[in-house]
């Protein structure tokens, strides 16, 4: 399995899509953080800093798209055939891809978190911002990275299930931007279980009775991703390629 995950990681790294989406995620996060730090005069509360740094979690949206593109891309480009010729045990093949994308997403989240920290923290300190404790900062950055990894895994499962890149990306965006907010408004208590709600909980930026604990949020998201991955694996196993 390690061998297969390694091959899938190599597969990720050898396409422009991975680097383009990683770069876009970094640019988006840095743009928001840099502009905010430059414009805002005071960060008087620790929560203001946490909220600003939780912008890193935005990379989860792009790793979600990355996963969907990768999962469905195997069918678009026909690479699913040789993937299954090398690994005819289809559950293993899909499992390795989900794991590799989760690791790729995690790496993107960690990388963007590190770069953001390197730029923002000294700048905020120079502006006499109320700096949170190291544990809280770690929570934001690690939580965002885990969120990015789980989002990528979710995307791969969805992409492999749908097999159509455009449909997978559109469905992801409609789900997050339209369906979830609507359902959260209509169904009492659903908000914390939406993908956005879980992402927010993982970064630890919000606390309270209507937000899950970061660990619980990560487990729920992992459950969503696992269900999708299992469905995709079962469907792939039964499908003629």
């Amino acid at each position: 399995m390690t061998r297969l995950v390694g091959a899938e990681l190599l597969k990720l790294r050898t396409t422009r899509t991975f680097w383009a989406l990683s770069g876009s995620a970094l640019a988006l996060v840095l743009l928001i953080v840099v502009l905010t730090v430059a414009i805002e005069d005071a960060f008087g509360a620790e929560h203001d800093v946490i909220e600003l740094l939780s912008t890193v979690g935005l990379c989860g949206l792009l790793t979600l798209v990355l996963g969907a593109v990768v999962g469905a891309g195997e069918y678009r480009h026909g690479t699913i055939a040789w993937m299954l010729l090398v690994t005819p045990q289809r559950l293993r093949a899909v499992g390795a891809q989900v794991l590799a994308c989760a690791l790729g997403g995690l790496a993107i989240g960690l990388g963007i978190g590190l770069i953001t920290a390197a730029i923002a923290l000294p700048w905020l300190a120079a502006k006499d911002a109320a700096m949170p404790a190291a544990g809280d900062l770690l929570q934001v950055f690690l939580g965002s990275a885990v969120y990015a990894g789980l989002a990528a895994a979710f995307g791969v499962g969805l992409g492999a299930l749908l097999r159509n890149q455009v449909a997978a990306v559109v469905i992801v965006l409609v789900l997050i931007l339209v369906v979830e907010p609507t359902l959260a408004a209509l169904i009492d208590g659903y908000g914390p279980f939406t993908l956005t709600g879980l992402g927010t909980a993982m970064t630890g930026v919000e606390e309270g009775s209507d937000v899950l604990a970061p660990g619980t949020a990560a487990l729920v998201w992992a459950l969503y991703a696992t269900v999708l991955a299992v469905l995709a694996a079962i469907r792939t196993a039964r499908r003629d390629i």
């Binding site: 091959a7 480009h77 299954l84 010729l85 090398v86 005819p88 003629d240």
Partner: protein
């Protein structure tokens, strides 16, 4: 292929059949793509898999490779379904029809990923690129490759694991005449090295120069199987004879049992004679004092045999 040739040839002798399809049927809804098909491919030989477009060749090969599930029957590689092979790239190398590359990935990286997934050393990648003469283009993105270069890259991928068998679906597609000649020499070399080579193609003239045996299917069913000689002699061509007295000769031949002689399309004086050998026609003419200017029986080409066996259907896929 220099590596492991003698060892493989020895192993080939102890393994009678590597690829076997038995009573294979595959339905897609109401459409029967493959209907009770059986054949075997043996080591050290090139088996041509022929049939008109839509005959079920690709479905059969994909089923053999575990990509398509059979409705009934079996498709075995080394006495097991492909999906049960522990190290499949070392048993079978495959070239499939249709797209199979990410256009943004370089040829070398494509092979690197395959090698990594199969647990093969990265040195095999450059070896295979050299073998298929793509070493100068390995760092170019596949979207810049010609169809022929993509076919060569597919072949390189198929050979990465130094497999005992090759399953190739229309490998000549997109190759120029030089490429086709290269492919022919390449396939013959693979068979000489002891590999089992199963190759489908609709380029019949090329297949005639490449394969040792053929399996012909039509509408999913086996219509013929055997060596090229067996096949081309199995369908008898008429004897052609040219005489200044065709009507007399025709009457003389018609008097013989089961012999039919018809005016030929080649021109005045020609007769096409069925049901008689060259000797029969010559003797009949001599016995009746009829001059004969030309007398011959054309050897049936694989193409004409193929069209005759499959009813000349060449539509759809």
């Amino acid at each position: 292929m220099p590596r492991g040739g003698e060892a493989r040839a020895g192993r080939a002798a102890s393994v009678p059949w590597v690829l076997e399809v038995r009573d294979l049927t595959k339905r897609f809804g109401l459409n029967v793509a493959v209907d009770g098909l059986s054949f075997k491919a043996s080591p050290g030989r090139v088996l041509g898999f022929l049939g008109p477009n839509g005959a079920g060749k690709t479905t059969t090969l994909r089923t053999l490779l575990g990509l398509t599930l059979p409705t009934s029957g079996t498709a075995m590689v080394d006495s097991r379904p492909y999906r049960e092979l522990e190290d499949p790239v070392k048993v079978v190398g495959a070239v499939l029809e249709g797209p199979q590359f990410h256009p943004g990935r370089t040829g070398r990286n494509h092979l690197r990923v395959q090698a990594a997934a199969a647990g093969l050393p990265a040195t095999r990648v450059d070896e295979m690129l050299r073998l298929v003469e793509l070493n100068g283009a390995g760092n170019r993105r596949v979207k810049g490759y010609s169809l022929g270069m993509r076919q060569r890259l597919s072949l390189a991928g198929a050979l990465l694991g130094d497999p005992r068998a090759l399953v190739l679906d229309e490998p000549a597609n997109g190759l120029d005449p030089q490429g086709i000649r290269w492919l022919r020499d390449f396939l013959r070399a693979q068979a000489r090295d002891g590999r089992t080579v199963l190759v489908s193609s609709h380029v019949l003239a090329e297949m005639a120069q490449t394969v040792d045996e053929v399996v012909v299917i039509s509408r999913g069913k086996l219509v013929a199987q055997g060596s090229l000689d067996e096949l081309t002699h199995g369908v008898e061509a008429p004897v052609w004879v040219r005489s200044p007295e065709p009507e007399r000769l025709r009457a003389a031949l018609a008097a013989r049992e089961n012999v039919q002689a018809e005016p030929g399309e080649a021109g005045a004086g020609w007769l096409a004679v069925r049901g008689a050998s060259l000797e029969d026609v010559g003797t009949t003419a001599a016995e009746n004092g009829i001059p004969v200017f030309e007398l011959y029986r054309p050897r049936q080409s694989l193409e004409s045999v193929f069209l005759e066996l499959t009813g000349g259907t060449e539509a759809g896929r």
